[in-house]
Symmetry: C2
Subunit: 488 residues, 2 copies
């Protein structure tokens, strides 16, 4: 079994994630649920994101509606351009994403932005047919990937947002004013986004409904190197992948040598590196890949993808784009609102530019699971080596046996820990089996209550990875966990 | 200005909440955003819910898709029955919710479940006309309040969930199996739900997109009094409002005297009471109102609404329903899956019954704001008396002046606190004005760095409500906050 399938099996069996509506025949591809362990892990990942990016950098967070009005997507360009080319069978109506299908059948690499004419020409040239019924294809068309909804009895047109950042742009004037904003101002949002993918696949990796955590840094384009906080991160080692070569270089040198355009960009790539290094992702298997001119949006002067190497290839976890004034200019134009602000540093009116860190949470969760998965052949066990801050269960509480008052003692300890830490009580099966279950969901510690506990109020703490145990006083367990987790 | 408007003004000006897409003319009613302070407060409310209900009661949490397949809502009955009666003007097409409109114009109290014929009769009898153009109305119809979406190029029909609990029901078989479930098993979910209201109103009080936090307790109907943990809450004082009279009574007596049907129901109403008493809701202004037979769903044998008194009347914050086996029976029937489980307590196969606590988060947030709002006439200040665990900002860090190294000292203290606590740094304006700003967003504490700080490393902590100050060592601030907040 390859690693992707192994992780999937574990995810299904241990409550990390599983298909949505799975008891029904009309369940749709591209929709998945986080089970109990997955929900805990995903929530903790978000809390770590809040701590290491938002609070560390004094960002502010908003939480906007997922359904947004049509004008927003006229301005953003999604209504016109957020489309995939599709070809539909004349005979049976089956529909395929044109570029993928052509690439697969013709063996040709097909650029995403091919025109309809060009697609039709290739379909004809290769005499492509429907794989189901061998029918010929209708002329190709474009399929918009936004989900439309109708509001109220008058059926006004609105859309589920395809990215969370649009609320940040639209809400900017009020936020800047009420929060007494100053540039650069970073505004973040975490929540669901929706894309009507033609061919969703690979569970959490290409979903139709997915979690994004986006950060938009509103900045003055004339002051991108005027950033005193850059000092704090200037020594951070960044692994840049530019035009097929790797440069592992500290943030300060990356700016000096022109790999990165300015301190602001280098600062946020550094923060992102520090964040991921605390999630359990193996940093040696990550890189910032600079997008080629063909790949990046026309308005993006700088575009790096933070990528991680997995068994299914390099995955994009975070798109880091310098979006210039594209977004605010378009929203200003369509809404007819003046979105300029005053930057007191140079007392100039400025339409802020944007640098964004657009993070996919579901893919991050998958990547962490894969990087943490470890088959300990010698000890015949499977271990998820999750770091304490994002482990779904931090500590298991296990009475060695249930008699002689050990159950009651264990339950007492459990009830004192469970409000403040993700704690799991387990008394069923042999102690070895109970360790295995905890290891498989990545619990870093297990507390065992044994006969000695009854005598001197000490318990053993067992470390998941080393399997070593140490004895501590019951009254010291909280302190032990606080120090390990470093998270209040 | 009435209290509702006062709170609204504060919410708009201080970043609690504001209308979605407000820079656009086609913004739709019923969609609101949480601003920076509101997002913090809402997130902390959810964390408190997790602590005081989920972790305290060993519940498990899932996070499912918001878009669900059609079969789910065939089974749940929403596709057929989740409708409001509407009347549409023959002339201009304006549409109104029939029962509300008739009630308003005729002065008659109109039951929600009036048939179409009955509505048409009343419209004719009272000669009701369109308020806009005076046109007559077409025959009344039913408007389904679910938002439909189309999946993929083949446009398969699916719906945005109108309540979060449906994923809990549908996911039950996998959850019960993989989590080694035992009845009673409480499964929770927090997230967005969507209802295409005909007339959304009053900001957070009737939204088209809103946050729910739902708990579904799967239980064996034959063992509803077999609940040893009931002992822990039996003395909780519950305020029941049954057939127009109040009974303030402890949980144990409420069961004994037949006000509540069993220990399981009494246990969860007690937990809910304990939870809300920690949110800052004034508990004297709450009640559990028993629904009348006309109000409650036909399958609900017990139905209480947890209500809170506000300036706009009694608001339902939590629907507490004993739903019997209605949900699993329907899902079992439509999916053709056997959803029975074994209860080892009596070794019987059982289709679990459900008791639910269905909480509206947005209304809870509004109610807490209103109950916390306080105009301190004497001190000429507005204070939000939010409790520490849900205050958007826990502590402000304020250098008395920016010179003599006070700014640097304050920033140093700030940077040490901000990762673990919601901290706000403010150096602009007089110290009095800065206190006012913190009070208005409910920050319980302000830390002032003054000249003495430079000498002996102490700061003053100012209490928001009493305005008293005490001097503490900088190194003691974390401990002080930990003890106050009681939340790790």
């Amino acid at each position: 079994m390859n690693t992707y399938d192994t992780v999937m099996k574990l995810a299904l069996e241990r409550g990390f994630y599983f298909p949505s509506c799975e008891i029904y025949g009309d369940a749709h591809a591209g929709f998945w649920e986080y089970g109990p362990t997955g929900t805990n892990m995903k929530n903790k990942f978000i809390e770590l994101w809040r701590r290491e990016l938002l609070r560390r950098d004094d960002m502010i967070e908003i939480d906007g509606s997922q359904i947004m009005s049509k004008s927003v997507f006229i301005a953003s360009g999604h209504l016109d351009n957020f489309t995939d080319p599709v070809i539909k069978c004349k005979n049976c109506g089956a529909t395929f994403r044109a570029d993928k299908y052509i690439a697969e059948k013709s063996g040709k690499e097909i650029p995403e932005l091919l025109s309809g004419n060009e697609i039709d020409k290739i379909v004809e040239e290769y005499n492509l047919r429907c794989p189901t019924c061998k029918g010929t294809f209708l002329e190709s068309s474009r399929f918009n990937m936004m989900f439309k909804v109708e509001i109220g009895p008058s059926k006004e047109e609105a859309y589920l947002r395809p990215e969370t950042c649009q609320s940040i742009f639209v809400d900017f004037p009020r936020i800047f004013k009420t929060m007494r904003g100053r540039l650069p101002l970073a505004v973040a949002q975490v929540g669901k986004s929706f894309r009507n993918e033609i061919a969703p696949r690979q569970s959490l990796l290409r979903l139709r409904e997915f979690y994004q955590a986006e950060i938009e840094v509103f900045c003055n384009p004339n002051r991108l190197n005027d950033l005193s906080k850059f000092e704090q991160v200037k020594d951070t080692s960044l692994k840049l992948f530019i035009k097929n070569s790797y440069h592992t270089i500290c943030a300060e040198d990356a700016v000096r040598e022109g790999y990165l355009p300015n301190k602001l960009v280098a600062y946020y790539l550094s923060l992102l590196t520090l964040f991921y290094s605390k999630t359990g992702i193996i940093m040696e298997r990550t890189r910032f890949r600079q997008l080629s001119d063909e790949e990046k949006a026309f308005y993006a002067s700088t575009a790096f993808d933070f990528e991680v190497e997995t068994s299914v290839g390099w995955l994009e976890l975070v798109a880091c784009n310098y979006r210039s004034d594209y977004d605010l200019k378009k929203h200003s134009m369509i809404s007819k609102q003046n979105l300029n602000v005053i930057d007191p540093s140079d007392n100039a009116k400025v339409l802020p530019h944007l640098f964004e860190l657009s993070m996919g949470i579901d893919r991050s969760i998958y990547s962490i699971l894969e990087h943490s998965y470890y088959e300990d052949i010698e000890a015949k066990r499977v271990v998820l080596r999750l770091v304490p801050p994002i482990a779904p269960i931090l500590i298991g509480v296990l009475p060695l046996v249930t008699k002689d008052g050990l159950r009651e003692k264990a339950q007492d300890i459990y009830s004192k820990l469970k409000l403040d830490y993700s704690t799991f009580y387990d008394e069923s099966g042999s102690i070895g089996r109970r360790y295995r279950r905890l290891e498989e969901i990545g619990a870093p510690f297990a507390l065992t209550i044994d006969n000695q506990t009854m005598k001197d109020d000490t318990v053993t703490i067992r470390y998941r990875d080393t399997m070593l145990q140490e004895r501590v006083k019951v009254s010291e367990v909280s302190n032990f966990l606080d120090e390990i987790v470093e998270l209040k």
